[in-house]
Symmetry: C2
Subunit: 197 residues, 2 copies
Amino acid sequence: MADPRNDLETLIELMAKLPGLGPRSARRAVLHLIKKRGVLLSPLAEAMTRVGQTARECLNCGNIATGDLCDICTSEKRANGQICVVEDVADLWAMERAAVFRGRYHVLGGTLSALDGIGPEELRIPKLRDRISAESVSEVILALGATIDGQTTAHYIVDELPGVTVTSLAQGVPVGGELDYLDDGTITAALNARKSL
Amino acid sequence: MADPRNDLETLIELMAKLPGLGPRSARRAVLHLIKKRGVLLSPLAEAMTRVGQTARECLNCGNIATGDLCDICTSEKRANGQICVVEDVADLWAMERAAVFRGRYHVLGGTLSALDGIGPEELRIPKLRDRISAESVSEVILALGATIDGQTTAHYIVDELPGVTVTSLAQGVPVGGELDYLDDGTITAALNARKSL
Ligand SMILES: [Zn+2]
Ligand SMILES: [Zn+2]
């Protein structure tokens, strides 16, 4: 059995590894957890244990699943012939919160990056190609970041899927966004994609 | 058995209750946990479970303990006749990191606050009075924040402990500053320049 004093230090060290928390905020968080033992610490430990036992990667799309396939891939309602390609699961969740897309997803797990040595095989792109015919896909919608790597990845996917309609999220002024706060690239993109009213 | 999909949502909701994390950073943290299941999620769940089972409040000083008394209260080496009074355990940890104080602590659990209805009974002040004779205390060092409530609490403690030498951390604690935000050097300088009240 481990030294109980070390359990506390171990907990702080592990918490400090979470994105968004450093050593100081990890200590604060652990003190908060101990104060709220009944309503927070115990439920959190249980939720982590259960998620650790059940969560896995959907074999089809890369979303988080509790079986071989995720809820979206098993739902017939989501088989509308559209696949939205995102970089990671956080982007999939952002799309789902917008509640505007009714098709399925494909989570790349990143973007092509010569610098980081990330090629197509690392990105689940071969699996995307397989899904086109397997799921009678009519349109692939790219929802990738407006970064250089994101755009490189977009161009690669277009080349990899000849004969498939590939579209991309529009670039422009965010809803509620003030022009004065936008970077030049966004303004340029918005101007180039201007529409007749 | 709970719906496994809800486990993930429950985990995100609980994580969002931690200080320093909001809904967005909680989602990011949970995705990170799932990606690092073996090296982070499982050890974290175990550490939380163990801390939840073992951590309690030291009956003497209010520090976090694994038995009735904390390591500092059970260590004879720390019985040097000095008690350092802090607001909370985070402040105690900050003092210990500075590694300059060799006595024991007394964790008030807050400061007197008419506004928040916090009186002496809520603050473990009666227990502090008991310890003066029980532990042959020669000096009580107040390491309270340089806030109005902190200073009110300091004056109250001085009045409550007639005949006891009560000192306070020196100027060097910035006005309005909280102890836990200070670097080790500032804490060391403030302790060394402490003044009699
Ligand atoms: Zn899926
Ligand atoms: Zn103690």
